[in-house]
C-alpha cells in the first residue's frame, strides 16, 4: 500500500592498497603497535608538507577504469576544514572541485533485470586517526592517519535495498578483484554511508544519512527500516529532518546521531601545498597495464572453456585459486577436470594446511600430468587422495610418486586378472545376475574388485578386464 518512492544514494570509502600512506612515506598497514606507523607529517607537525604517493594515483586511475569513470586529466587537491580530534591538521586533504573520476557506473542485476547504478564522482583523500573511548577520555592512535582512501559517490538513483545490496556486492567484487582494496567491512577497509529519502512525486524528499554500516546485509536492513520509518512519519503528518543516523544491528533500527547544522561549513579551498597534477596518457596506460581481469571478463572467458556457472562462481570467489587457474589456461588440458580437482582435493588440502596454492609445489606441469592420468584411467580419484600431500609438498613427478606408492603395479594384467578370477569365483550369484542382464551386478562385482585391491587398481582397466572375463 506504499505510495512513496524511495530514493537512495550511497557513499563508499575504501582503503587503498599501497605500501606507504597517501601524503607521507610511513607504512600503510593494519595492526601495528599504537602510534608506531607514523611520522611528523601524519601527526600534522608544524612545518610539514604533503607529498603524493604515485601508487595511490595509479590505483585511482584503475578504480576509474573498473567503475567506468571519466578520468580528470588535470587535478588539484582541496582542504576540507573541520575541527575534530581524529583530524590531525584539523583539515583533511581531499578532492572537492576536481575529483579524479566522474560519470561512472556499475552494472547490477536484480531479479533478472539489469540496471546501471550511476556514479557521480570518485575522489582520493586521506583517512583520519583512530579513536577509542574510555569513560571521560578518548585515546588517539595515529597509525591510520593519512592512509589513502577512495570515496565513491553514487547519484541518488538506487530504488530499493536489493539494488543497494547488489551495488555494494558488485562494487566490492570489482575493487577487490582489481587489487585496489581489501574491501573488508569488518576491518573498516570498506565503509558505507547511505542517504535515504522518500517522496510521492518527482521531487526529492528530505534525506537522512545512515553512517558506517558494518556489512552489506545490514545496509539492506538499515535502508528497509529507514524507508518504513520515514513512511510512518509522513503518514502521521510528521516532518522529516535532515539528520545523521546509525544502524544498530542488535535492535535492527536506525538511531539518531545528530541533526545536521544548516549546511556543513567545511570552508573548502584549494590545497596550496600541492601544485596541479596532470596525468599523461603514458602514465594512465602504464597504470592500467597491471589491471587484472575483472569478474565479468572472467565469467565470459570461463564459460568458453566449458566451466559450469557454479564452478565459475566458486572459482571467482577464491582469488588465489582463480589466479592459479588463469595461469593453467595457457596449457592444453581438460579444464573441467582441472577445476574439479582444484575445488575438491586441492582446496581441502589448502584449507587443512591453511595455505594458498602458490605456496605449494603443485606446478602446472604436474597438475596437467595428473589430469591426463585421470583421463586415461592411469590414476583413480582414490589415488589422487593418497598422493595429494606428496603432490603439494614435493617436487617429485607423478611418475616418481606412482612408483613410490606402488601405484604402477595395479596395471599389471596378471595381478588384476587373478583378483578378478577370485572375485568371480566367490560371487557366483552376482555372476548369474549379470549373465541374466542385470547391470547392477557388474557394479557390485567391480566394487568387490576395488575392495580386494584397496582401490589401487586402474579402474578403467579392471572394468574392461572384468567384462571380458565374465563374457568368456
Amino acid at each position: 500500500m506504499s505510495e512513496f518512492t524511495p530514493t537512495i544514494g550511497i557513499e563508499v570509502h575504501v582503503e587503498v592498497k599501497s605500501k606507504s600512506k597517501l601524503f607521507s612515506n610511513s607504512a600503510n598497514t593494519y595492526g601495528m603497535a599504537t602510534n608506531t606507523a607514523v611520522n611528523v607529517i601524519d601527526l600534522g607537525y608544524p612545518g610539514t608538507l604533503p607529498t603524493i604517493n604515485k601508487e595511490v594515483i595509479r590505483q585511482g586511475i584503475r578504480a576509474c577504469k573498473v567503475l567506468n569513470c571519466d578520468i580528470t586529466r588535470k587535478m588539484h587537491f582541496d582542504r576540507k576544514n573541520y575541527f575534530y580530534p581524529d583530524n590531525p591538521k584539523n583539515y583533511q586533504i581531499t578532492q572537492n572541485r576536481t575529483p579524479i573520476g566522474r560519470n561512472g557506473y556499475v552494472e547490477i542485476e536484480v531479479d533478472g533485470i539489469k540496471k546501471k547504478i550511476e556514479i557521480e564522482e570518485m575522489h582520493i583523500e586521506e583517512d583520519t586517526c583512530k579513536s577509542a573511548h574510555r569513560g571521560s577520555v578518548s585515546l588517539l592512535d595515529f597509525n591510520r592517519a593519512g592512509v589513502p582512501l577512495i570515496e565513491i559517490v553514487t547519484k541518488p538513483c538506487i530504488s530499493n535495498s536489493k539494488e543497494a545490496m547488489a551495488y555494494l556486492t558488485k562494487l566490492k567484487e570489482l575493487l577487490f578483484y582489481a587489487n585496489i582494496s581489501d574491501c573488508k567491512m569488518e576491518e573498516g577497509s570498506m565503509r558505507c554511508d547511505s542517504n535515504v529519502s522518500i517522496s510521492k512525486d518527482d521531487t526529492f524528499g528530505t534525506k537522512t544519512e545512515i553512517k558506517n554500516i558494518s556489512s552489506i546485509h545490514n545496509v539492506g536492513l538499515a535502508i528497509e527500516y529507514e524507508i518504513k520509518r520515514q513512511e510512518e512519519m509522513l503518514n502521521n503528518g510528521e516532518i522529516i529532518r535532515e539528520e545523521t543516523r546509525r544502524f544498530d544491528d542488535k535492535q535492527g533500527k536506525t538511531i539518531l546521531m545528530r541533526v545536521k547544522e544548516t549546511g556543513n561549513d567545511y570552508r573548502y579551498f584549494i590545497e596550496p601545498d600541492i601544485p596541479y597534477l596532470e596525468l599523461t596518457d603514458e602514465f594512465i596506460n602504464d597504470s592500467l597495464s597491471t589491471l587484472p581481469l575483472l569478474p565479468d571478463e572472467l565469467r565470459e572467458k570461463y564459460s568458453k572453456v566449458g566451466l559450469s556457472s557454479l564452478q565459475i562462481e566458486k572459482l571467482i570467489n577464491n582469488r588465489p585459486l582463480n589466479g592459479y587457474f588463469l595461469g593453467l589456461l595457457s596449457y592444453k588440458t581438460n579444464y573441467v577436470t582441472a577445476v574439479n580437482l582444484l575445488l575438491s582435493d586441492i582446496s581441502s588440502y589448502l584449507n587443512k594446511h591453511n595455505k594458498v596454492v602458490t605456496d605449494t609445489h603443485l606446478s602446472y606441469e604436474k597438475l596437467v600430468s595428473v589430469i591426463e592420468a585421470l583421463e586415461t584411467g592411469d590414476l583413480s580419484n582414490k589415488n589422487v587422495k593418497d598422493l595429494i600431500d606428496s603432490l603439494m609438498e614435493t617436487d617429485k613427478t607423478l611418475d616418481e610418486l606412482k612408483k613410490e606408492f606402488n601405484i604402477e603395479n595395479i596395471t599389471d594384467d596378471t595381478f588384476i586378472k587373478n583378483i578378478i578370477i577370485k572375485v568371480i569365483d566367490n560371487n557366483p550369484d552376482s555372476v548369474n545376475d549379470y549373465k541374466n542382464g542385470h547391470d547392477r551386478a557388474l557394479k557390485y562385482l567391480m566394487g568387490q574388485v576395488m575392495k580386494e585391491t584397496k582401490g589401487t587398481v586402474n579402474p578403467k582397466l579392471a572394468n574392461d578386464m572384468l567384462i571380458s572375463l565374465l563374457n568368456k
Binding site: S18, K19, S20, N25, S26, A27, A33, T34, N35, T36, A37, V38, N39, V40, L43, T51, I52, N53, K54, E55, V56, I57, H76, F83, Y84, P85, D86, S131, A132, H133, R134, G135, S136, V137, S138, L139, L140, D141, F142, M257, R258, D265, R267, F269, I270, P272, I274, P275, Y276, L277, E278
Partner: protein, 97 residues
Amino acid sequence: MDKLSREEVLHVAHLARISLTEEEIEKFRGELKVLMDDIDKIKDVKDFDDGMIYTPIEDNTRLREDVVGEMLSARAATINAPKKNGSFIEVPVMINE
C-alpha cells in the same frame, strides 16, 4: 564607527574555535569590522580575464615512489603531547561518534 554585532563576532570566533572574553568580544566588534571592510574592496576590482592561480608553481606535481620510509617510535610520536595515556594521546571524550 560601524561595528559587528556580538553574534557576528561569536560566529567567526566559533568558526576559528577561539573562546573570547566579554572584553575581547567588544574589542573585536570594531576591529573585525575594519578588516571586513578592507576585504570587501575586492568586490570592486575588475578582473582582467578568467585565469586564476592558487600557487605560483606551474610545474606538474612530482609523485613519490611507494616506498616506506623512517617512522617514529611511539615515545617520539607522543613526546610533545600535553596529555598522554600509554602510547596513546589523550583528549576529552569525543561525543559525536
